[in-house]
Symmetry: C2
């Protein structure tokens, strides 16, 4: 099937090459789009405001003159930021020229390009040596590709204003050598399946469409032909393996799962969306016969849908893997994606409410369509759903899933991760989850240790603490075996062995279940975690039941961390706190970054810990064995440059267990604000956890909340055949259920 | 003068006692006010919304039945919260009854009062033993007084619906013994100058006005007659000294400075405003001849003005002394104050913009007036000014001052403190300041160590870390001498010796100067700090020049902490960070709560440290001597219950100095947000600090910023005679200026 599509596209390309020359612009902006814009701009206020804002930015840029400095600095430094501003403003100025018709913009763009064309042939590789694929304008080819994706749009916009000799100069001295440099001269950057390469493919493809160079376009779509094998490791620890399919279509095939999930997680999916969307928009305009947006069963729309669903109530992406916290669907990449998918993929009016919250649109025909529809009051709410997104190109690489409930005005969400490693940006965090109430992180994922583009922090690149802390298993809400990270901290092994979805059912919105297993993260250890998400009357919002079984060939030490990241309220376990000195919790695998702030021995079979996060109380009720330990720790040890946040966590530690079972019940409740100073429901209700059965075949537990509800969670540990009936008798009570996991709720 | 006024008021009281009985309600709600409300409610949307909201709360309270449990719990516990809800809802239900005319509300209020009347005679003191003045309904008389301030309004509202025998029952069994209990039976609570006593005075006075009991009213206004001396210390470490003037009028005379500043700081001034405003409103209605709002040259309006000016850009009070952060002019106390001052004190339309941001009004005639004026578009912006507020009843107890500049859309503010101790809630923080950019704390005051009303945290009262950390000098941005707190940590001594304003001039909005001295905080040590607040082009916002001279009889160790509380960006000093263990910085005076995270020796005469706070960069440039030290510390040691925030600070340490001078230049600049990921102006400009002269008589320093501006700061250290001319020659250059401090700005 895939091969068939590829052949079809090759034929179409051949046919289109025979057609007559196009009239520019043809890339992201079109002649017919421009006519619409000029006609309807005053009926589309958001478009007009976006245009005025961009024009004002462009005017300031033009006023500041032509500034094309010799490349020198890392991200965040002067020359980096000037060239970055240049490419963004080149693109914007091109659109402003086309919309306003004011030739002074075209003239300025031409001068800037001529300055680049004069400098480019004189440049060697960028002096900064940090990248596996150094660029010429920037420290890495990736940024050079960014430059060309935007610059090609500017070139398209002024194409018709240039003389043949002017075009020849730019193409000979700048665009063609530039496209060759980031492709055939840097195959380890261009010719693999990776978000970096997608930028490279789009850059080469977009300049090819402007120059109508079909050979370059083929390189962009199918990769460099006749490449030998190259292998290595990139700056982020990702595998470079060039002996495989490559090019833009291969990225669409390989980088996404069939559900539109991108293996590096939403932060990078957001970043990767730009080249996918911009090049696809250019292909849809210049090569409509490719039906690029329909490719792989409307993959790009699915990708956008997955992104919008992997966000908290403020639209911020769940920060799994190497993600900078705070990135959201307000970003320019998502504005472009929402606009393009709306325009090319069936005018889904639910996207308009996202566009409204973005408050800006692209100043092209896609933005006009969105702004006009908003002005016509077509906007519908975008409803986020509980969903599973399979991982891996074939969808068999495990998954991530979101459980969501809106209860009494609270947006509760749990994001559960059990896919593939996610290449160089992946973390060793199989079976971890993060928990949200509205925009509050009740249990957090640390995210990346990086200040993107902030020069003071190692030039804005990944900090060494990203490797030594943020990627390690202890930095996540999942079991650490023998104080070692999953896969021995080896990214390549993590990429080879996905976890697997064991059961997923959200058909009953009030009993949502996700269950997953991993048998590869630790040798000889099976990890099996089941999450049940249920609105409970005693909490007035969603309660999470978290059952985590760890079965090993040999006894192991097990640490289950809870990154509550906020203010401890109470602990039922007596905690001994060191008074005059703090020590680190370990020496490797992230433990060297933890100060041990407190320690307690659990002397009962249940413990309770509660905390307070931005005005919200949360209580956790845990099943324990006497002698288990609680460790309070704080991030920040071995951090000579003060790069890490001093966030707290606690760890439930079991020593030398072969078959361990953690059961945790966690829910937020109540609230408090410093203006009213009145705590509401600051104590969680009474909760009892009874483990009725736990053997190889079955686990059955009973959770009683607030004297009101009893939940019986029944898990078939080995057989997850859909529809399979199970029956177990315990003390004359028979438990019957269907499927791998079932929850029965009884009101007392 | 004061005596004259008191005599007049006594005469008026006597006259009014001869007048005929009033028609209720007469306290905070009046008959004529009710007529206005019924007539205009539909023309005043904010009033109507407030009424609907309150009515809905009251309906829910009525529906839940009469609940008057036997008192048992501390703040945050069940019986505490039920009785607190009761008094708030009694008052609200009274107003709802009067506005709606629905007698079922009056009936419910009567039943609740009858339940209290049945229980009250059976009660001893509250079982919790923590208070210096235990209440009966609550753990402290203070809360009992709160109860009566609100309950008296409810009694007033239903007064006319009750039979004589019903009133007799309530007055005999509840109101009179209640009033006696919180006054003559608890003189250490009632008869001193303190916010607690103000509540007591208002409670007794308000029930007196309803019952028309002039003897009780006199007790409220003038204190208990014929009291002997009582002395002691209250729960907060404040002095109890009952052998002085007392009663409500004495509170107005003694608790405020002539500028309306309240010695405990804005957090407690806000709290204290309720009894002042509510009782004054009742007096203005029931005893208009007292002209209570005009008392002491319109003191209460000045008090409100001081409160509104001591806030950040979100209306949150500067958290000096024992303040819970986040408390703001959105609080119910400030709603009442804004409404009452608007109504009784000249309809200042600038108050309407504050009322708009509060979004609610009182449901009485004052709230109606505000809501109606807003509906008539009379609202004007409330402009916050640079101001000095003298401290102490006579205005000679030092001061606090606010320097403010709005530059390029940034609200810059510096709050400088050099008053009296502020009684039991005062901190040992003379000459400290906090610095704000918009709502961001660039240099913070820690505030109090307390979760108000949160039961889990020691019952919601002050934590022991409030004494051991929050009050100590090292917890503030001011010099600590020999690692000991000011006044040896003795509150009584702090109350005796105010600091003094040395110079204050904000007449030029672009060169604002505040200078203050303290010679009592440390024996044999003179502290003199001068702050200059100036908009600077290189920073694009306000720059603070901070010159702090410490002159001692003998050599001392000096620590100047900077509570930057956020993310360190860079330090020009090499910092050695311990890898495997952290130690505390000291053993007493707050140092036992600090972990020493890093240490460096300054090897030049200037050092630079920069940090990042909620998207804003700040750089500090400091004059130093070689061999001075920088210590990075973090709060949180010796904190067995995890009560303290883990905020960072750094300390500039000088050892064994007799005459030391700290010069710091601090300014925020630029911004960064995680959606755009583009740092703007992330580096501060080049700044040079040259100390030209520093002797007993004069200090002259030259600050050069960004190669653009030179500021010459000239200080006369001994002579601050207003208008005095000074002339100093250094290397053939003569510096001439007038007044104690002057700044000359020259563009290069």
């Amino acid at each position: 099937m895939k091969i068939h599509i590829l052949i079809s596209i090759s034929c179409l390309l051949f046919i289109s090459a025979l057609q007559s020359r196009t009239i520019h612009p043809i890339l992201t902006l079109t002649k017919s789009g421009l006519a619409d814009i000029r006609k309807n701009i005053n009926k589309a206020p958001i478009f007009k405001e976006s245009y005025i804002q961009i024009k004002s930015d462009v005017d300031e840029w033009v006023k500041s003159g032509v500034n094309v400095p010799v490349p020198k600095d890392m991200a965040g430094g002067y020359t980096h930021e000037v060239h970055k501003r240049n490419f963004l403003m080149l693109q914007a100025a091109g659109n402003v020229y086309q919309i306003s018709g004011d030739k002074s913009y075209a003239l300025h763009i031409k001068k800037v390009f001529q300055a680049y064309a004069a400098m480019y042939p004189t440049l060697g590789k960028h002096p900064a040596m940090r990248s596996y694929a150094r660029g010429k304008i920037f420290w890495q080819c990736l940024n050079d590709a960014n430059w060309m994706v935007y610059a090609s749009q500017a070139y398209d916009c002024i194409y018709e204003t240039l003389s043949k000799s002017e075009r020849d100069n730019l193409e000979t001295n700048l665009f063609r050598p530039f496209a060759d440099f980031i492709s055939i001269e840097n195959p380890s950057f261009f010719n693999r399946i990776h978000n970096h390469s997608t930028w490279g493919n789009a850059a080469v493809g977009m300049i090819a469409l402007v120059m109508e160079d079909d050979s370059l376009l083929k390189r962009a779509l199918y990769g460099i032909s006749g490449m030998g094998a190259i292998s290595g490791v990139d700056n982020d620890g990702g595998t470079i393996d060039v002996n495989q399919s490559a090019g833009f279509l291969a990225q669409l095939d390989e980088a996404f799962s069939p559900d539109g999930y991108y293996s590096e997680g939403p932060y990078y999916e957001r970043y990767a969306m730009s080249p996918f969307i911009l090049f696809s928009q250019a292909l849809a305009n210049a090569k409509p016969e490719l039906h690029i947006f329909q490719y792989r069963d409307h993959l790009l729309k699915k990708a956008l849908t997955s992104l919008l669903n992997m966000t908290d109530s403020k639209g911020r992406f769940f920060p799994i893997n190497d993600a900078q916290k705070g990135m959201s669907y307000q970003s320019r990449e998502l504005i472009a994606a929402v606009n393009a998918i709306y325009f090319y993929e069936g005018q889904d009016n639910a996207l308009l409410s996202i566009a409204e919250s973005q408050g800006k649109v692209q100043i092209d025909q896609t933005g006009l369509a969105v702004a006009s529809a908003i002005a016509e009051h077509k906007s519908q709410p975008f409803v986020k759903n509980s969903m599973l997104f399979s991982d891996g190109p074939k969808g068999n690489g495990g998954a991530v899933s979101v459980l969501r409930q809106n209860v009494n005005g609270f947006e509760n969400a749990c994001f559960f991760k059990y896919g593939i490693q996610g290449m160089g940006h992946g973390h060793f965090d199989r079976l971890s989850y993060s928990l949200y109430q509205n925009q509050n992180e009740i249990l957090q994922d640390y995210g990346a240790a990086r200040w993107v583009n902030i020069d003071q922090k190692a030039g804005g690149v990944y900090l060494k603490e990203n490797q030594s802390w943020a990627k390690q298993t202890i930095a996540h809400n999942t079991v650490v075996v023998n104080e070692s990270s999953q896969f021995g901290g080896n990214t390549q092994r993590g990429d080879l062995y996905p976890s697997q979805s064991y059961y997923f059912d959200v058909s009953n919105p009030n009993i949502q279940i996700a269950s997953a297993v991993d048998t590869n993260a630790y040798k000889g250890v099976s990890l099996h975690r089941t999450l049940c998400f249920l609105p409970d009357e005693s909490f007035d919002q969603s309660m999470l039941i978290d059952i985590f079984a760890v079965d090993s060939d040999t006894p192991n030490n097990l640490d289950l961390p809870f990154h509550f990241g906020s203010q401890l309220m109470t602990s039922s376990v007596d905690i001994v706190v060191p008074e005059v000195q703090l020590k680190t919790l370990g020496k490797t695998d992230g433990y060297q970054h933890l100060w041990k702030e407190g320690h307690g021995i659990i002397d009962s079979t249940q413990y309770i810990i509660s905390w307070f996060t931005n005005g919200v109380f949360t209580t956790q009720y845990s099943l324990a064995e006497k002698g288990d330990e609680i460790i309070f720790a704080r991030i920040g040890a071995n951090d000579p440059n003060f790069n890490l946040r001093r966030d707290p966590l606690f760890i439930h530690r079991k020593r030398q267990e072969k078959n361990a079972l953690f059961i945790n019940v966690i829910s937020s409740h109540g609230n408090y604000n410093p203006v009213d100073e009145v705590p509401i429901n600051s104590y969680g209700p009474k909760v009892m956890i009874d483990l009725l059965l736990n053997n190889d075949a079955y686990t059955i537990a009973k959770i009683t909340t607030g004297g009101k509800n009893i939940y019986t969670v029944m898990i078939s540990n080995k057989n997850n055949t859909p529809g399979q009936s199970h029956s177990v008798s315990i003390n004359d009570v028979t438990y019957n259920w269907k499927n791998a996991v079932s929850v029965q709720k009884i009101k007392i």
